[in-house]
Amino acid sequence: MRGFITFAVFLAGWWAVTQFCPVPPYMLPTPQSVAAALIAQRNFLFDNTLVTLAEILLGLFFGTLLGALAALTMAVLPPVQRWLMPVLVLSQAIPVFALAPLLVLWFGFGMTSKIIMTILVIFFPVTASLADGLRLTEPGWLDMAAAMNASRFSTLWHIRLPAALPSFASGLRVATALAPIGAIIGEWVGASSGLGYVMINANARIQTDVMFAALFVLCMMAVLLFTIFDRILRNLIYWAPDSRRGVS
């Protein structure tokens, strides 16, 4: 409900600016013309949305898989942590977006370069959150496991990993919010489909209404994706304290 009110206020403000300020329509189209473009181009937008969505989901899937593997390896083999962590931090110092042209050059105009871009964007938050969670296990639990003669693997599987899941979930939420950026940047640099491609094309042809329509679809998709993931994560990690559920 609050979302709708915010949206309505935003639309009204937008409409007022187009109505009462001397802004040409190619700079800022009216909400009506964007809505018209949205309806007129709905099939075109829908097809391209599916492409971007597929890139985001595949990027999220492989990025989460690789990040979780990296974090688990670091937890099991401390020497790997000492070697890998500086590399990971360093990789964050390079703007991933600067790599986009290179990725397109290496992996082509298809989906692969965008998926890899998305993986690169989310890899660090995923890895760091799970690695942190695995590192910060309640010491009492580890003592208890030791007194119960648990093997290192058992302790990791039955105690450290479940205990790290709330922290991992925070990383996944950040990843879900970041993933669309990776896919869109990849599409801007070079693609033959996807919402990013639609936006850059419409921009070049000064079809600002189409560009806004694509942007609108992208925003809706990102918000929906985050909401769904957040809901799933909260249900999966049912034991985590959550003020919104009234359990602490």
Partner: protein, 240 residues
């Protein structure tokens, strides 16, 4: 349960950061008895318990059992917090040890233990749904599930309110009867009520005082005059 061995602590020493925490510490816990160890905070009680549990290495000295079988795998450890896993149900928490050792859990025995601590109806609940006292009772059931002849307890009831604490002390004394038990506490009343005898660890470096005997068998009633007398004596001793 197999007959419990006595526990012998001989010439134990612990240094920490160049500081002597304790030295030449000797203590024997007779088979099947509960000994309470009292002392002010920071005196090294928890370190002593961790050494016996094999979680910490002493500077010198040794801890042995009277049957000369190594202690590894024969000690159950109950800490200050209940340490229940929040994602596991009550019964899964009780059977955690079996799961960690990759052995087949025995739900019948776990249910039986939960019945003895009065929580059979809550077997499927999550720890977050239980009160502090209930959680500590689950922790007792988990400790008993391990079937270890030697039990170490580190202020397990300190976070509970007075009435719940008294009830759980009685329950623990009853259920742990027959185990060789060392209980750390800073509550003189608790020590007087549920231990066979008690010792006091004070000073820096810390020393063990002579064993204090409370007449009668535990658990003793809280209004027992001898308990109250010993408690007053202990308070004086600890305040010095």
């Amino acid at each position: 349960m197999s007959p419990c061995p006595s526990l012998h602590i001989q010439n134990l020493a612990l240094h920490y950061g160049g500081q002597i925490i304790f030295e030449n510490l000797n203590l024997t816990i007779q088979s099947g008895q509960l000994v309470a160890l009292l002392g002010p905070s920071g005196v090294g009680k928890t370190s002593l318990l961790r050494i016996i549990a094999g979680l910490e290495v002493p500077f010198a000295g040794q801890v042995t059992a009277s049957d000369n079988i190594p202690l590894g795998g024969r000690i159950a450890y109950m800490a200050q917090q209940d340490l229940l896993l929040p994602w596991a149900s009550v019964i899964d928490n009780v059977m955690l040890g079996a799961k960690l050792r990759r052995m087949r859990p025995n739900p019948d025995r776990a249910m039986n233990l939960l019945e003895r601590v009065g929580l059979a109806t809550r077997a499927k609940s999550l720890p977050v749904e239980l009160s502090g006292g209930m959680r500590q009772r689950v922790a007792i059931a988990r400790t008993l599930y391990e079937e270890r002849p030697i039990v170490l307890m580190d202020e397990p009831f300190s976070a509970l309110d007075a009435i719940t604490r008294t009830k759980i002390q009685d329950l623990a004394a009853e259920l742990l009867a027959g185990c060789t038990t060392l209980l750390i506490t800073h509550d003189p009343m608790e020590a007087c009520r549920i231990s066979h005898h008690l010792v006091v660890l004070t000073g820096a470096p810390a020393r063990l005082g002579p064993p204090v005997e409370v007449p009668g068998l535990p658990p003793r009633a809280p209004d027992n005059l001898l308990v109250l007398q010993t408690q007053a004596e202990l308070l004086r001793m600890l305040a010095q």
